[in-house]
Amino acid sequence: MTAVVEPTRPEKRGLRRTGLNLSLLLCIAVMAVVILCAIFRSSISPDSPFTQRLDIGDKPPSAEFVAGTDLLGRDVLSRVIHGARTALVGPIVVAAGAFTIATLLGLLAGYLGGWVDTVIMRWVDFMLALPGVLVAIVVVGVVGGGYWTAVLVLVVQFTAPDTRIVRSAVLEQRPLPYIDAARALGISKRRILFIHILPNILPLVLAYVALDFAFALVNLAGLSFLGLGVEPGTPDWGRMLFENRNILFSNPVGLLLPASMIILTAVSMNLIGDWLFERLTK
């Protein structure tokens, strides 16, 4: 019954109160731009990403091509804008898929315990023991199917660590009296899991969804760079790194623009996830 007075931060007003700051606003702006590009890519991009002009290939930025051209004379800017789609869709599917499966498995493992827990967690251990990118390379290389196979492999891979996080969050809630009270009232397991526990662990899970997105983006770009992601010719940031690595000196923008887009998008998503977590747990 001692007064535990925690030092709290000064009251913030307006923008500051929501925890929004300049760097976060920048992150949201970056994500907004990427999302807009992914949706309205044809109307935004100045040129088709596919038109080849071999005579003016490999040119630095000019008035006509703001980001220059690649070896085949395609407009780099248009390709970066079109590449936003594969940069968003894959990671979103990976994050959403891994989140859904991991939440289900984690809730079951954490709440039910016993053999259910053992089976799920041993599977998680097994998955974590595999070298992630290597497995993806092997599977995509053997099975084929490019981008979507890679996405599927990442969903399975990301599910494992996420399950572990969800489970530990569930274990933290499980012994609390409000769960006991619900059990004593005879409330069904399903309701306890989804109505009582899930909302309380959601902030943590959502923060990890944002992390998943960032990791998936980098991983998918990496696979595309290795030639295991998107089909050749598709505008994709990772693929562009591979295609334009030889023109680093003649048109550096061709390499640096997609590279910085990958970094910016991943970092933005990370920071947004952090902010979401703090906001939801307060």
């Binding site: 001692t2 007064a3 925690e6 030092p7 709290t8 409000y178 309701r191 009582h196």
Partner: protein, 598 residues
């Protein structure tokens, strides 16, 4: 005890970013004197103690003057402050387990303080000194020095912590709730030890506590702190005999007396306000029965009414007689309750519960316990931590399953809860419900009060949901909360209010029996009395039975008709409460009774 005071605090104001914590506290401690700062949570007592040692958490600042043996503590450079701490001012905290480094042996904690002293430079000399220090706090076994904190009991740990904080022979020891986290019998031992050491060394002591009675039995002078303001200062015997401030009286009366059963506890209504909410007027005005407009007009100063007796009540002389009468009537003992004779609604026969312990060793939490609860009866289950009392309660509501033994609830054999048919299970749940100890996690933080109650009502089928809104209003009224509370979330409720909602939730299925697991032990004294009165009122109105699980004999004496004393998983004594309390047969019951501060 003459000369300049060792510690002199003048106008100490502590403020955090979110508001004021204390306003202008004055305090003096002379050499060899023991002083208590008594207050409920939120009174600012702990931070006052921390301000003296300049250990305030970041973001909290102190203004005013703190003079310690001629030094201006608040202005001292950190380097010099460090040499003051431990050597001249030492602190002892509430929880011995978190206060000690879990990876450091007990002896090391003491060595750490002795290091640098040339007298104990050698290994053998150091060891001898550590053993001597342990002996001073009543630990005769020198091997304790080689054990890790988690290998010791709470009481032993607190002893080691005391030895460590005394190692540099401080002139002043600040003890912040040193016994609150411990079991009843251990509490008494630790307080006796502190008192003995303080007197033997002629050391000054500041005891921070919420327990007025503990303060009376340990200290020479009492300071009553409330919402950041000192309301009363005086020497312990005379404050105990005749408190000058209505708050001190209320605090004294809301503490259930251990030596008698009273018809109704005098509870202070409402809850402790924030210091900023009561600035510029009497902090206690909103909860005081004697409040007049003058009390709200200005902040009453602490004035000396009798020699060494200060009070911040401006109406003291007018209301002195009334306060005395209230006290006399409040302490009139009520007759022992009549015992119920109807056939038992809950019958537990020889219940055994075994948990899987470390390295496959089974831990027997219950070793054949038999109890009965009759309709309309209030039964106390008394025991210290580890006695198995909570386990028994959890078995009854189906949160655990007994390893052996028979359990009958409302004529349903509930020994194997999972084997019950859905109809029987529902009948059992409609018969018995539980109220938990911790008000802060007993409610789902993401659900509003309405949602929590609605869900509980909904377990009675969809028919019950049709009239749910009316029922929610009814339940809130029953537990003494306004209807508007339905749309509040737990984080905006105080501990007492949360506990009321938890009781409403348990009542929503119209149970016949409530298992209450230490429902008031985490609450402030004034709120505790409110909730105990609520339990009593509900019992009368709804004809409820209670199984009241507690370690607190004073509480159980007010509420229970019959008690069972549980010790290490076995019932060592049972009988009508008054009979057991007046004439305890088992040595353990006697020890429990002797440990209660009075």
């Amino acid at each position: 005890m003459t000369g300049a005071p060792l510690l002199e605090i003048r106008g100490l104001s502590i403020a955090a970013a979110h508001g004021t914590i204390t306003i202008g506290t004055d305090l003096e401690v002379r050499r060899g004197e023991s002083v208590a700062i008594v207050g409920e949570s939120g009174s600012g007592k702990s931070l006052t103690a921390k301000a003296i040692a300049r250990l305030l958490p970041p973001g909290v600042s102190a203004k005013g003057s703190v003079r310690y043996g001629g030094l201006d503590v608040l202005a001292l450079p950190e380097r010099e402050m460090r040499s003051l701490r431990g050597r001249r001012i030492s602190m002892l905290l509430q929880d011995p387990f978190t206060m000690m480094n879990p990876l450091m042996k007990c002896g090391k904690h003491i060595e750490e303080m002795l290091r640098g002293d040339p007298r104990f430079a050698g290994r053998a000399a150091m060891r001898a000194e550590v053993v001597r220090r342990l002996a001073e706090v009543g630990i005769a076994d020198p091997d304790v020095a080689d054990r890790l904190p988690f290998q010791l009991s709470g009481g032993m740990c607190q002893r080691v912590a005391i030895a460590a904080s005394l190692a540099r022979d401080p002139e002043l020891l600040i003890a912040d709730e040193p016994s609150t986290a411990l079991d009843v019998t251990t509490q008494a031992e630790i307080m006796k030890l502190l008192k003995r050491v303080q007197q033997a060394r002629g050391m000054s002591l500041i005891l921070i506590t919420h327990d007025l009675r503990l303060a009376f039995s340990t200290c020479d002078r009492i300071h009553v702190l409330y919402a950041g303001s000192l309301l009363e200062v005086g020497d312990a015997p005379s404050v105990q005999r005749d408190p000058f401030h209505p708050y001190s009286l209320g605090l004294l009366l809301s503490e259930p007396p251990a030596d008698r059963r009273v018809p109704k506890l005098i509870a202070i209504r409402g809850q402790v306000p924030r210091a900023d909410a009561v600035s510029g007027r009497c902090a206690f005005a909103d909860r005081c029965d004697w409040v007049k407009d003058a009390c709200r007009a200005a902040k009453p100063p602490l004035t000396e009414l009798a020699l060494g007796r200060f009070t911040a009540c401006i109406r003291r002389t007018e209301i002195a007689a009334e306060m005395r009468t209230l006290r006399d009537t409040a302490l009139e003992a009520s007759a022992a309750p009549e015992l119920e004779t109807a056939p038992a609604i809950i019958r537990v026969g020889n219940a055994v519960k075994t948990f899987a312990g470390q390295r496959g060793r089974a831990v027997r939490a219950l070793k054949g316990v038999s109890i009965e609860v009759r309709p309309g009866e209030s039964v106390g289950l008394v025991g210290e931590s580890g006695s198995g009392k909570t386990t028994l309660g959890r078995i009854l509501v189906g949160l655990e399953t007994a390893t052996e033994g028979s359990i009958t609830i409302n004529d349903v054999d509930a020994s194997q809860f999972s084997a019950l048919s859905p109809a029987d299970r529902s009948k059992v749940r409609r018969t018995i419900q539980m109220v938990f100890q911790d008000p802060y996690s007993t409610l789902n933080p993401r659900h509003s009060v309405r949602r929590a109650l609605r869900e509980a009502i909904g377990t009675g089928g969809s028919a019950a949901l049709q009239t749910a809104d009316r029922r929610i209003a009814e339940l809130l009224k029953e537990v003494g909360l306004p209807e508007s509370y339905a749309d509040r979330r737990p984080h905006s409720l105080s501990g007492g209010e949360r506990q009321r909602v938890a009781i409403a939730r348990a009542l929503s299925v119209n149970p016949k029996v409530l298992v209450c697991d230490e429902p008031v032990s985490a609450l402030d004294v004034s709120v505790q009395a409110q909730i105990l009165n609520l339990f009593k009122r509900l019992q009368g109105e709804l004809g409820l039975s209670y199984l009241f699980i507690t370690h607190d004999l004073a509480v159980v004496r007010q509420i229970a008709d019959r008690i069972y004393v549980l010790y290490l998983g076995e019932i060592v004594e049972e009988g009508p409460t008054e009979e057991v309390m007046r004439n305890p047969k088992h040595p353990y019951t006697r020890r429990l009774l002797d440990s209660a501060p009075r």
